[in-house]
């Protein structure tokens, strides 16, 4: 697409005619499949894929372009997932909405033990969106897809009038081949060890600190990353894993609460074992947030059988994305938490919070604080709003 002619995306780019073809050919196909690494600096449709009419990705998969549907060879057991991405700002330290839209869907497949194979890519673009930004986003998608060996095989692009969307929205669906089946939250039983693959809250803090109006100068990068390689290493290492979940919106607290409720166990975690970047903790202190409730985009939480915990931790630590992995707690029977830990003496001792009433609660998450006092780690709710003073 001629960049000078089209500095911005116009409504006509979504009209289905010549401009649509230029957009899809010039920016999207070239970014995804172009030989020049997806720089997007292009001119005609005929340049964007190889002469046979196929695009080929890094792992040699071939896909025919411009048909109404992608025709795929399906493995025996497939996993299928979808996710939509709206993030403000669109570009943030450590990533952008494009990278996020690949990593998010890849991770949803990965935590189910499925090797990510194919993605769809749906774009809803606001009229007036910068073409240059779109090129950068497609490049982010292309690079992240190549990293995991997943291929974008179908897509759709719509342009909506200015004011009807916030720049760009992306939807990706993904198909993966289930290599390790049986992973499920319902496998979690008392005694399972909870491991987190790295520092929590980085993505939420990075995005929020760069949001318009906040613009805080803190050295926090999003953890946005595709986790298949790391998860494959753990699952392929002979570890009995009950369940894996990528901690996204709602952060670690949401994952643990969902697990506790679904599996009907209590989960007991220790605050001083949960890895949190110092800047993220400082950011949270300032605004009254808890790092455990902030979004991550490249962290996995594992529940593994106790005899495999150390081995799983070692595999994670030897992977670049799992360097800061830590064992943070255990699943336990109702109210049977921390029996062997020093904080146990505090159980039921609090004046506040109806200690006895709370004990009747099934499927809760208990956080042992840094001074040994146990408290509930609640499910996040409502909009995260910074406090006044």
């Amino acid at each position: 697409m001629n960049k000078k002619k089209y500095e911005r995306i116009l409504l006509s780019h979504g009209g289905g005619g010549k401009e649509t073809s230029e957009l899809i050919g010039g920016i999207i196909f070239n970014g995804l499949y172009g030989r020049n690494g997806g720089s997007g600096d292009l001119h005609g449709l005929h340049n964007r894929h190889n002469d046979s009419g196929f695009a080929v990705n890094t792992s040699g998969q071939k896909i025919k372009l411009l048909d109404d549907a992608a025709v795929l060879k399906s493995p025996q057991n497939i996993a299928f997932t979808t996710d939509s991405f709206t993030v403000s700002p669109i570009f943030f330290k450590g990533g952008d909405i494009g990278k996020l839209s690949v990593a998010g869907t890849v991770n949803d497949l990965s935590v189910m033990g499925a090797k990510p194979l194919f993605l769809s890519l749906g774009l809803i673009i606001e009229e007036g969106f910068s073409s240059e930004d779109l090129i950068k986003i497609i490049k982010g998608i292309s690079q992240e897809a190549d990293k995991t060996g997943v291929m974008v095989v179908t897509g759709d692009t719509k342009v909506v009038p200015a004011g009807k969307a916030d720049g760009i929205f992306i939807n990706t669906s993904g198909i993966g081949e289930v290599l390790y089946d049986g992973l499920s939250v319902y496998n979690i039983t008392p005694g399972d060890i909870i491991i987190v693959s790295g520092n929590v809250g980085d993505h939420g803090a990075a995005v929020m600190s760069q949001r318009e109006g906040m613009e805080m100068d803190v050295e926090i990068e999003s953890d946005c990353a595709s986790l298949w390689d790391m998860i494959n290493a753990v699952l392929g290492g002979g570890i009995t894993v009950s369940a894996i979940r990528d901690a996204t919106r709602g952060g670690l607290a949401a994952v643990l609460n969902e697990w506790a409720m679904a599996a009907g166990v209590d989960i007991y975690v220790e605050e001083d074992k949960i890895p949190v970047n110092g800047s993220v903790r400082g950011f949270c202190e300032l605004l009254g947030f808890e790092p455990y409730q902030l979004a991550c985009e490249g962290r996995a939480v594992f529940a593994v059988k106790p005899e495999f915990a150390e081995k799983a931790l070692n595999i994670l630590k030897s992977h670049p994305l799992g360097k800061n992995a830590r064992i943070i707690g255990t699943a336990c029977g109702n109210n049977n938490f921390g029996a062997e830990t020093e904080g146990a003496g505090q159980a039921g001792g609090g004046r506040n919070g109806n200690g006895q009433e709370l004990k009747k609660l099934k499927g809760k998450v208990i956080l042992k604080g840094i001074y040994g006092v146990n408290r509930l780690l609640d499910y996040p709710s409502g909009e995260l709003l910074p406090r006044i003073c």
Binding site: S279, Q346, G350, G353, Y371, N374, I388, C389
Partner: protein, 374 residues
């Protein structure tokens, strides 16, 4: 940014807790005035850590919690005027008035903006798309935030901006404390006084607490170490029978406070005859308003016709009434604790708050709910 950990070290906290343990002879009842203190106490479980020694009572120092329904109704009414952009702090957005909240009004299409600092309003006002709009700042907070509102007004005047108005809800710390102590009906032995307010005001505003009421008053910061240091000083004052105002937050608070901020506040604000507090009713000389010479910036003056009907309804009791079962009023006076309320955690929770103390994150009920101890 490592400051966050320096006043939380486990060893220091254990040592302080054991000193308090050995020096406190009989349990001490301490009211922490500020919601920020309540939040820290619950988050770190300091009440559980010191449970046989210190009984923390939670005071009226959360500006969002004490805001009466009728003031929120007014903000919503003003936001409803054509061409108005209503700007408020995030914390205030969820707080329900009689039948809506600012966040719900935003969802209905009203132009309600969340700001992080009052000076964000300059940017909104100077945006060329907003030239014909009126930007109304719903200004709330104690002595800590008032100087920032005054600084905004100073900047608005200096830049000759003529489309910014103020709905002023700033309140003062000492009047409700005096109201609690005057009622006589309380357990309080001493107060942990708010750190950030004192940075601005200095320690003089608490002089009545030891002089007139013979109670301890210690200014403390918000970290666990600060709060325990404050509690220890109060315990010592009680042991020695010498109530006084002391500062346990010397890294931030000076006796005289911030003179520049005080001058700025005095330039633009004057004290109202009375102001309504949620849970307390009207307290004399407890709120601020703009001085008469700045009335053209005062949303209550500019929108007086629009607010007239609403005010009549509030006065006649048709609007602005609290739920009768809610114990927020008693909680804010330190007469009971959140889990003494029959609604706590049942009919009243953060998703469906009945009373003000559950609505704001800094409120005592919200802190109890969020950090339920075992």
């Amino acid at each position: 940014m490592e400051l966050y950990s320096d006043f939380k070290r486990k060893d220091d906290i254990s040592r302080l807790a054991s000193i308090i343990g050995s020096e406190v002879k009989k349990p001490v009842n301490i009211m922490e005035i500020c919601g920020g203190h309540t939040h820290s106490i619950m988050k770190y479980g300091l009440n559980t850590l010191l449970k046989d020694k210190i009984n923390f009572l939670h005071g009226p120092g959360c500006p969002v919690c004490v805001m009466p329904l009728k003031r929120i109704d007014e903000a919503i009414e003003i936001a409803d005027s054509p061409g108005v952009i209503l700007a408020a702090y995030g914390d205030m957005m969820r707080v329900p008035g009689t039948d809506s909240s600012l966040i719900k009004e935003r969802a209905k299409g009203k132009d309600v903006r969340m700001i992080y600092s009052p000076l964000d309003i300059i940017k909104i006002a100077e945006d060329k798309n907003n030239k014909d709009k009126k930007i109304v700042f719903f200004a709330i907070g104690f002595e800590t935030t008032t100087p920032m509102t005054a600084a905004l007004l100073e900047e608005v005047i200096a830049r000759r901006i003529n489309n910014v108005l103020f709905h002023v809800n700033h309140v003062l710390v000492p009047p409700p404390i005096n109201a609690i102590l005057d009622s006589g009906d309380n357990l309080i032995d001493g107060f942990i006084c708010p750190g950030h307010v004192s940075v601005m005001t200095g320690s003089g505003i608490y002089a009545d607490i030891p002089l007139k009421y013979k109670k301890a008053a210690v200014i403390a910061g918000f970290e666990p170490y600060d709060i325990l240091s404050g509690a220890l000083l109060i315990a010592r004052q009680i042991n020695e029978g010498r109530p006084a105002v002391e500062i346990a937050y010397k890294r931030a608070v000076k006796e005289g406070g911030n003179k520049k901020a005080q001058t700025l506040v005095d330039k633009y604000f004057t004290i109202r005859d009375e102001f309504e507090w949620r849970g307390f009713g009207n307290i004399p000389k407890s709120g601020l308003k703009l001085r008469d010479e700045f009335k053209n910036f005062d949303a209550e003056y500019v929108f007086k016709d629009k607010l007239k009907e609403l005010r009549l309804k509030s006065e006649s009791g048709q609007r602005g009434k609290e739920n009768a079962a809610c114990k927020c009023g008693e909680i804010l006076k330190g007469k009971c604790k959140p889990d003494d309320c029959p609604l706590f955690g049942k009919a009243c929770n953060p998703e469906n708050p009945v009373g003000a103390c559950m609505v704001s994150f800094e409120g005592a009920c919200a802190a109890y709910y969020k950090y339920r101890n075992f």
